[in-house]
């Protein structure tokens, strides 16, 4: 097997350190996501919180996780992605309306 990728590997050192730093950011955000997940499961498993408090907290934790995913793992924060980000916000807006609409007013 010829791995010709290695023969022309000219990613320079500067780039490599930059990539590495990015990776560090990813590791931290991964850790945060795990923590958020643990808290979420913990709340439910231990039953320390009443329903009225638990649900908003759970939703909040989910939103935090998603922000990490979007911004770090999926690189939404990078410049040049502003149009993408704008549109995704549009999508999230439409999605939020949909969920509220269906979830809240169906049974009114």
């Amino acid at each position: 097997m010829t791995d010709n990728a290695n023969t022309n590997n000219v990613v320079d050192e500067y780039q490599k350190t930059k990539n590495k730093e990015e990776l560090k950011g990813h590791l931290i955000s991964f850790a945060m996501m795990i923590v958020a997940t643990l808290i979420a499961f913990g709340i439910v498993a231990s039953g320390v919180m009443g329903k009225i408090y638990a649900i908003p907290v759970l939703v909040l934790l989910a939103v935090v996780q998603v922000a990490f995913q979007f911004y770090y793992f999926m690189h939404l924060k990078e410049k040049g992605n502003s149009m993408t980000a704008l549109l995704i916000y549009g999508g999230i807006w439409a999605a939020a309306l949909t969920v509220t609409g269906l979830g809240a007013i169906t049974w009114w």
Binding site: M83, L87, G90, G91, W93, A94, L97, T98, G101, L102, I105, T106, W107, W108
Partner: protein, 617 residues
């Protein structure tokens, strides 16, 4: 491939060329032909409706058949006629307007078309296979979940397939506009039609998934025994209404916004003026789209959502009148002080202003919730939406066709025929639909197969029916015009109207690579700027070089065809073995075609600089 080479080839290879084309200009032809065909179908269905309602207690068609006709009329007109015709115009003009050689995803573009076409054919096969869908274009559960036969299944599968195609079209346009604009073509220099294509695509992207899910739920319910809408198992049929209208309301703006773009371009071209209030026009388009997602429940005022929800949605709906009004007045201001030429394209556009304003105003009237308790589900609503859809969308499509016809085909549509068609249609349109406002208030609900004698509804319905025939006459003359023009129409240059935007800076019809050299854009109405500065033509932004072109491909057709077969399979898999085989076989065809696509590298080809030089002007 030069123009002469294209002409020399036989019919077979021409068909093959269209089956495999990934050229947005040819895909535009396909969309226009397909959409036109379905427009005639939907129009014939409309005539049948009007014949049945010509006199009280008519028995021209049976109740069951009538319900199939109105369902198919609404579904066909919205999904298979209006939208594809608009996508056709977008494909024909938008890439040229931004100075692009191509769209971002030529392959997807072709796939989008074939999905629409085969989805539409699948839907219409229902006529020959035991009956068309009969639950209205809105397919409210539980009427749709309990409708016997396979009609509604055809509706589900047909729209699912066609809808997937539309979604792809939307994504393709978005990326094209963001990534492929010519040098200097900033967002705020884009022609209004490009802007509205952009915003419409966003609407498609965020609205269609709700329909997709709605249709999935309906399909699971009808074909696989799910219980989303089945009250006896805890289901709730109102969910369907929400999903449908979360899609459905943005959908009506999908229908009108592109036409707003057409009118903006036409008005500014034929009054020889720059569009008045360009920024306000762009901004109002965005506001309409934004608000468009927050008003869906205005179709559900009588469902019993309660006064809080009803008033919120009512006020949000009315708010849309503001940005739309901004548009109307900016158009008037564009015309004001201009040098107005009235040709066919302009006639349709001028007629749009009063017609659409009436439709918009009745829109605000039906948005007035406590009054909508009277209007809802009556001919008043029918009148409202035909005023906006026919007076807005259909007029816009006609205007766009007349406007860009010379660009697309190199020949200009005949003016005398064009004007005759316009007047017949215009008069017929008001005759048909104005009276319906009164019919509704006088107590005529919609989707009524017959109306009874002695209810004061006879004259109104008769007038309405007569009007429909005027419209038919107009449409027929328009088609005669097309044939006439194809045979002996006047040939025109690249810029027959003293145009302002980039599409008029190249030949008619454009070469398949559009721009030999990408133009350098120096402002809004780039061609006009160059003309005013005495250059007469665009300055190139790059030296002449090789042009990269995508390869033709038969795979889009095959994928769509596979899904088409699978569609039949899903519908019949509960009935017999052939259905099951078709289901798996069709999916296999589609998946294998997709796999072929992903495994085979497709890098396109290059037109060399030398060839381009040889093709010199």
């Amino acid at each position: 491939m030069s123009v002469t080479a294209t002409q020399k080839r036989g019919l077979g290879s021409a068909i093959w060329d269209y089956l495999t084309t990934v050229d947005h200009k040819k895909i535009a032809h396909l969309y226009l032909a397909g959409g036109g065909l379905f427009f005639i179908l939907g129009g014939i269905e409309a005539l049948l409706i009007r014949i049945q309602l010509m006199k009280p207690e008519n028995d021209f068609v049976s109740a069951g058949l009538y319900n199939e006709i109105i369902t198919m009329h609404g579904t066909t007109m919205i999904f298979l006629a209006a939208m594809p015709l608009l996508l056709g115009l977008m494909n024909a003009a938008m890439p040229l307007q931004i100075g692009a050689r191509d769209v971002a995803f030529p392959f997807l573009n072709s796939l989008g078309f074939w999905l629409f076409m085969l989805g539409g054919i699948l839907l219409n096969c229902s006529w020959f296979m035991g009956g068309a869908p009969d639950a209205g274009w809105t397919a409210y559960a539980p009427l749709s979940t309990t409708s016997p036969g396979h009609g509604v299944d055809f509706y589900i599968l047909g729209l699912q397939i066609a809808g997937a195609g539309t979604l792809m079209g939307g994504i393709n346009f978005l990326v094209t506009i963001i990534n492929m604009r010519a040098p200097g073509m900033t967002y705020m220099r884009m022609p209004l039609f490009t802007w509205t294509t952009f915003i419409t695509s966003i609407l498609i992207l965020f609205a269609f998934p709700a329909l997709t899910i709605g249709l999935f739920l309906l399909m699971f319910e009808r074909l696989f025994g799910a219980a989303f809408f089945d009250v006896s198992l805890g289901g709730n049929a109102i969910i369907w209404q929400h999903l449908f209208w979360i899609f459905g309301h943005p959908e009506v703006y999908i229908l009108i916004l592109p036409c707003f773009g057409v009118f903006s371009d036409v008005f500014s071209t034929f009054s020889r003026k720059r569009l008045f209030g360009y920024t306000a026009m762009v901004f109002s388009t965005i506001v309409i789209a934004f608000l468009g997602f927050m008003v869906w429940a205005h179709h559900m005022f009588t469902v019993g959502l309660g006064p809080v929800a009803n008033t919120i949605f009512s006020v949000a709906t009315m708010a849309i009148a503001v940005p739309t009004g901004v548009k109307i007045f900016n158009w008037l201001a564009t015309l004001w002080g201009g040098r107005i030429t009235v040709n066919s394209a302009m006639l349709w556009s001028l007629a749009f202003i009063p017609s659409f304003t009436i439709g918009g105003m009745t829109g605000v009237m039906v948005a007035t919730v406590a009054a909508d308790y009277q209007y809802h589900d009556t001919y008043f609503v029918i009148a409202h939406f035909h005023y906006v859809i026919v007076g807005g969308t259909v007029f816009g499509i006609f205007a766009g066709l007349h406007y860009w016809w010379p660009k697309m085909f190199g020949r200009i549509l005949n003016e005398a025929l064009g004007k005759t068609a316009f007047w017949l249609f215009f008069i017929g349109f008001h005759l048909t639909f104005f009276i319906q406002h009164f019919l509704g208030l006088m107590g005529m609900p919609r989707r009524y197969w017959v109306f009874l004698e002695d209810q004061g509804l006879d004259t109104g319905n008769l007038i309405s029916s007569i009007g429909a025939f005027f419209m038919a006459a107009g449409v027929i003359i328009f088609f005669i015009n097309i044939i006439y023009t194809a045979a002996k129409g006047e040939k025109v240059s690249g810029d027959p109207y003293d145009g302002r935007t980039l599409e008029w800076s190249i030949a008619s019809p454009p070469p398949h690579y559009n721009f030999k050299q990408l133009p350098l854009v120096r402002g809004l109405d780039p061609l006009w700027i160059e003309k005013m500065e005495g250059n007469g033509k665009m300055t190139p932004a790059e030296p002449l070089g090789d042009i990269h072109m995508p390869n033709n491909s038969f795979i889009p057709f095959m994928i769509s065809f596979g899904l088409f077969i699978a569609g039949f399979g899903f519908i019949y898999h509960n009935d017999n073995m052939i259905g099951t085989i078709a289901m798996f076989g069709g999916m296999a065809i589609a998946l294998l075609s997709m796999l072929t696509r992903s495994v085979k590298d497709d890098l396109g080809y290059h037109i060399s600089k030398e060839e381009l030089e040889k093709e010199a002007e």
